[in-house]
Structure formats: structure tokens, C-alpha cells
Amino acid sequence: MSKRIVVDPITRIEGHLRAEVIVNDDGVVEDAFVSSTLWRGLEVIAKDRDPRNVAILMQRICGVCTYSHYLKSTMAVEDALGIKIPLNAELVRTLMNVALFIHDHVVHFYHLHGVDWVDITSALEANPAKAAKLAFKYSDSPIAAGEADLIKTQETIAKFAKHPQGMGPFANAYWGHGTYRLTPEQNLIALSHYLKALEIQRIAAKMMAIFGGKNPHPQSLVVGGVSCVMDILDPTRMSEYMENFKKLADFVDNAYYSDIKMAAEMYKDEPSVTKPIGVKNFMGVQELMIGRDEYLFDSNGYILDADISKVFEIDEDLITEEATHAWYADDEAQHPYDGTTVPNYTGFVKGQSVGPDGKMIHSENIDPKGKYSWIKSPRYDSKPMEVGPLASILVNYASGNKRVKEAVDSFLKETGLPVSALFTTLGRTAARAIQAKLIAKYGMEAFYNLIENIKVDEETCAQYIIDKNKEYKGRGIGEAPRGMLIHWIRIKNGVCENYQATVPSTWNASPIDANGVKGPYEADLVGLKIKDLSQPLEIIRIIHSYDPCIACAVHVMDTKGNKLSEYKVDPLYGGVCNV
């Protein structure tokens, strides 16, 4: 008889997320549903505000990808007003983005995703001397993996482990689970890097604060450019950035990337992470301007059905969102002027699911026939798409981006994995590290190009006017650490008339659409075998591999399969109307 498993809260993510699966007698997932359980309505709030205020407000979508929304929102207003910003401003924005990407990927791998791969209780059995030697297998100059470092790490954790009630944030996790594959020594190395990464993320945040004033929620982008001209013209600030960058790049190369190689070696035969993924369509766009009109990830496009022999051009008009299974009322039949769509929360239904001790217990469950999430279903030409580092890497690889191709090929060679291994959970986690490694290797080009440009040009901000008698529309597009991000704005009477954001986690975490097609998270869970129904580590490992950012994913765009540029938000009812 099939059984239901509910995982809520999914911890170690941004936001509030639930996953539910139905497994058969063999523990294989037959159906899966993912629900976001928080709605905030920020796009509704953006309406009628001064366009100069919008970016700082939309930044509050998320404190983790704290810079991405700020940047794309500012770019949307600039696009609408037809502003070309000075090169200095472009490059400084890139430097802040470089810090964000590395920060985000490192924190994700170690602090959010890490313990899905690393069993910290196993690290206690490790021989630190052996582990220190082993670290050289994955890096020529390992970080925080000397014998003394590892002994210290082990002692720290030993104190927790001796007192099961006292493990604080590590308490009551799925330790000892049958799908953990690292040896005790490997676990110990990764654990030591977990601790070191706490320090590294602070350094990355400082780098953003040099030009951003603070982090999270930096505050130096203005419509037209940047405000931090004093910092750019100050050599001590610039060298502070450079010195910190070196530390980050070293960690990415000799801890993060080497740990990924280690995980790839040990997990390549673990079915729960090498099962082919569900949605095989990927979309990515250019990001990180490292020189004048030159991008590190320079390809735009999408690939279908895991076929990297062809990259298709994106037609932004074919991006749609719909709410068949999302908690918004469907206003298709309404007249546009009355077409307000109030949130339509239908909640969960009473049912049973597998409890923490394996017995069936009462729970509130998703009704898959009805609405079940605050996330809507974005589709491209009716197809679901995965976005994120894996998509970006694949689109650039397939488009022939030399640097990306070299990095991917070298990863595959070093790990002995075939190209098909990229289309797995393991591949998704590895792609993020490959992206970080590329940024660590080439990110400083933006820095040197900035220095060259400052010698001849000190412009940091373009002037502009907002004509109250004119109507404007524009969008800011690019990659956030979690994938393709687009902000759309319409300006009328000098204020924001309409605002929308198409966010990476919305694509990935979307519920079933009108055609009955699942989004990437859900599709990926189907067919997964779960060893112990009360300890569904396999589920959260897959979900975490996407680096969910759920506050980002939830927003108010509405109606069935309509074009994004055609929506208006109605502030009074907290809904939207169709133009």
C-alpha cells in the first residue's frame, strides 16, 4: 500500500517550504508535490511607488541573494528609462556580484547542503593523520586540513556528539543514514571546511560591503550607476578587495572544489543522487560583465531534453506564469477592469503520513487535485525549465564558451565522470562549484579593467529624468546565484504602474501546471527510492541541490498562461488584473 511522507519544514534553505511524496511498497516515490507556505506580496507593494525606491524595496525579496534583486530591479528601471550606465559602474556592480556568487555558493554547499553529503558523527571515527594525507589527493595545497586542524575539528564535534541532547543545531538529524558515502576521514576534511567556510563567508560579505556599504542588503546602487565613487577612487579600498579576493579564490580551489571532487568520487554509484533528473530543459542568460560588453558567462539560450548539441534562442514573450495549482484565484473570465485576483488559500486536507518513528500519524496533507502552493508555474512555450548554475553551465558549454568548456571538461576528466553525470543531482551540485571556480579564476578581470578605466574616466553615474507624461517599460535580466532572474517594470505618471519578478526558484519549485506537467523539484523526486521512510534524507538532498530560495519564488503574478509583460497589479485587493 502506498504511503505518504511529509517533510515540513525543509530546513537549511531560505524561506518556508514543504515536500510531500507518495511511495509504493518498495519505498519508491510514485508522486511528489512541493509547496511554499508563505506569501508576502511585495510586487503589490511596489505599485505606485517612486521608481527610484523600487529596487531598494524589491531587494527585500531576499536577504540571501541580497544583491541580485537589487541589481536586476535597478537594471529594469534603467532599461525602461533608456539609461546606459558608465563602464565604471558596470564593473563595480560586477565586483559586488562576484562576491555574492562566491559567498552564496560556499554557504550553500557547506552550511545548507553540506550535511546532506557529510555525516558529522562519522568524522569522529576518523584518523586525523590519515585524513590530512588524504586531503592531498584532492588538492595540491589543502586548506584547514592539516593534522592539527583536523584534530581540533574532531575534538569540537566530539563534545557535541557525546551528549545527544546537546548537539544544538546538529541535533536530531539523519546521522548514520545508509546513503552517506564518505569515509570517516573524508567526512572530517569536509567538516573542517564547514567551520572554515564560516570565516570565508564573512570575508566575501566584507568584499561586497567595500562597495556596497553593508551586507546583507547593500546600499550603493542608484538608477544610473553607483554611489560609491569615493571607494572606487581609493586605492586602499581597492587593494582590500583584491587581498580578500585571493583568500576566497584559494578556498574555492582548495576546499570547495576539492570537496566536490571527493564527493563525486564517493557518490558516483549512489542511486539517489545519480538518478537521471526529471526536467531536462535548461535556460540561462549572460552574466558578469568583466570588460566592456564582455561577459564571463556570455551565452543566452535554452536546451531541450538534455540535448547539448543545440541551443535555442530565447523569446521573452514566450515566458508565462499560471496558477492552476497555486493559491491564487483564477480570473481568466473576468473583465480586465474588474479582474482583481485575490489570494485564494485553500489550505491542506486532513490525512496521514509517516511519522518520525515510522508509524503512520495524523498530518495536514497536500491535495494534488486542488491548489497547494504560493509558488506559481512559470513555463517557456508551455515547457518547464530548470534554471541555476547547472543550466548556466550547460547553456554556456553547449554554446561553446571556451572557459566554461575547459572547466567542465577538466572536472569530468578529473573525476572520470561522463557528460551524462551532469544531468543528475550530483551534477547539479558539482555545476555550482564549477561556476564558483570559474568566477574565482576570471572574476578579477573586472577589477583590472576597472583600474584601467579609472585612469581615463571617473564617471560613475549617468544623469536622467523621469518624464511624468511618458510611459515606460523595461526589464532587468541576468543570472542570480540560483539562476535566471528577470525583473519587469512599467512606469506611468512618474510612478511604478506595474511590477513583476520572474525568479529562479519559481521555475524550479513550481507546482503542476494546467497541462499536468511537473516542475523540476517535483519531477526530480519521482522514481527516487527512499531507504528509511522516517528519515527521508534522499528527499532533502535533492531539494537542497537546487539551493531553494523560497521568499524569492513566491510572488503575485497571475492568470493562466499569459505573457508576463501583460499584467497589472491591483494594490487594493492584493491581487492582479489582466491588462
Binding site: R12, G63, T156, H163, G166, G168, K214, N215, P356
Partner: protein, 389 residues
Amino acid sequence: MNNQVDISFDKLYNEFENRIKSLEKLPALKENTSAEKMLIEKGFSRRDFMKWAGAITAMLALPSNFTPLMADAIKVVDRLPIIWLHMAECTGCSEALLRSAHPTIDSLIFDYISLEYHETLMAAAGWQAEENIEHAMHKYKGQYILMVEGGIPTANNGSFLTIGGHAKKGLDIAKEASENAAAIFAIGTCSAFGGVQAAIPNPTGAVALSEVTHKTVINVPGCPPSEKNIVGTLMYYLLYGSLPALDAYNRPKWAYRLRIHDLCERRGHFDAGEFVENFGDEGAKDGYCLYKVGCKGPYTFNNCSKNKFNEDTSWPVQAGFGCIGCSEPNFWDTMGTVNEPLKDKLYNTTFSGLGADATADKVGLGLLVATGVGLAAHATLSAIKPPKE
């Protein structure tokens, strides 16, 4: 310093000593470990540790001879269990904590010592995560510190946020956790005042934590607040055993009594009438005052101009942007356009040199009086001291 002040500090010193002694008698949450040992293991020298203690002491406006007491206080921090809830939020406040300056001591407090529940950091998920919070609320009833990040959605009967296999409403979880907490801190502007989701038209009916519980809530606003303000509030509680002196918005006075404008590094330019007119202009390169490009420092109470962010790396005024007033209630709706002076329409005619100075000061003074009506700490708040241990 006159004698009277000295005497009161002597008394305070004794109170702190007794407080720490009484805390030392409490059982540690985790045996065989202490913050001090943890620090040694993490490679902190005694000197680093004392430096940190000195910084917190100064921040709380205590005389320097309190520094050793502060150091003692950190050693008993593991007697205080902490439950951290996420409501309608963006996780920026949790991120702020991870950035903590004066290196990892602050994160030690939160990551390793007594953090019983924190959805972003904890390893457990699903039912196991729920077991952790139930366990902590039961075992440490009346003893735990509750820290809440995010506004509380109340519209549609609170259905805009549910958490857990039983789909409990965020509203109910916040109320329940508040009930048996020894002290409650609303971390960030969302939890303190409703925040960004509560901005007009507030589609989810988001409110401050203080509006859904009858218990006293200490507000630590900011978007996000600096990690120093978060940790400082906790250290204050540890030392005093009571809650800090608060202003009219229940913000700790030691952090929020300062007006950004008063200690601003660009204040000299304001007084001299030297203003940035456009971002990137010559004035911007010379570090002129940002009032005319929208700085809300004259209307904002916080210690950013003194303490900065990210290990003293910078703060918004240093980055040439100006303050957006993020630690003030409803700032999204009351502070006007970010890149325009708030009172431009009213004051632009008087805007030159000393005239501007006087005007902005008058505005600030008005607010200062309003917030100065704040509560006195020990008298008013003794009623909500934790139960006698």
C-alpha cells in the same frame, strides 16, 4: 564623572557579579563544554577575547572596568537556550548574524552553544525539526530567549504562513513560543514593526510581534540590524538579568538613542553647507553631505554611524548612498523617496549652510523628544524578569 554616578556603577557592578554567580550555578545546557573552551578550540587568544569583551562593554556604555565581567558573562551564555523563529521574512537578519564582527565569537554564541531551533542553520528537518522546538519549549519553559525574525501575517486568519506537518500557522507558533519565553527579542524591522510586507497596502496583514503577544517585546530593528545590536541586546540581558532601558518604540536605548546624523562622518559638510547634488559628482568624490540626495540620517535613530557593518568595513553613508531610515517604524511609507530629501518641499527654500543645519536639527529634535519618552529599564521591566531559578 561625579560621585553619584560612580556609586551607581559600583552597585551595578555588584549586581552583575551576583547575576553571573547565580547563572554559573545553573546547569549547563551541554556538559563538558563552555564558551571559553570553545574559544580556545577555535584558536582565540585571551587577548582576542578581552578585546571583544571590551568592545561590547563600550557599546553598552559601561565603564571599562566592566570588561572582565563581560568576559565572565560570555562564559555562562551557554546557560541560556535560544529559540529563533522565522516568520514572514527574507532571512537577511539570520545572514547578518553570520557576518558577525570581532570574529566568530558571536557566531559561536548562536551556532554552537545553545541555539535550540533555527531553521536556516539546523541539520534536522521535517518531524525531527518539529521535535526539536517542542522539546526546547518544554524542557526550558520560562527560561529560553525567543528571537523572532520576520513580520507576523494575520490576514485571512494567519493563513499566509504555515509551518510543519500539521500546517500550524506562523501566528500561532509565534504566540505560543512567546508565552513561555524568559525574554523576547524582535530581530529586524519586520518583526519589530511589521517591515516591508506591512508597507502599504499590506496585503497579508503583517504586524509586529508585539501586536500578537501580551508579553513585552524588545525591538532590535534595522533591515537587517547590525550583528552588534543583536548580540549586544543578548549580552545586556545576560548581565542585567533584566531588559534594557527602552525608547518609545521599545528599542534598547544603548543602541538606538543615537541619531545617525549626530555622529555622521559627513556632518562637518552638512554644517558647512557642502552637499552632493548628484551621485558621482565632484561633491560625491569629496565626501560631501548626502542630505540633498536623500539621506534620512537626521530622522533615524541607530548606531550605524558609530559601529558600521561587516567588521567595520563600511556603512551606507560611507558608500555614498545615505541612510534610508530602516530602523524606524513604517519607514517604507514615511521616509519618502530614497534619493530625495524627505522635507525637500518644505525646506528647500531655507536650504543653505546654517539654515539647513538648523532646519534638519529641528526636525530631528522633534523626533528625539518623541523617542525620549522611552521607558526606564529596571523599574518598569522588573515585572518580566525570568522566573526565579
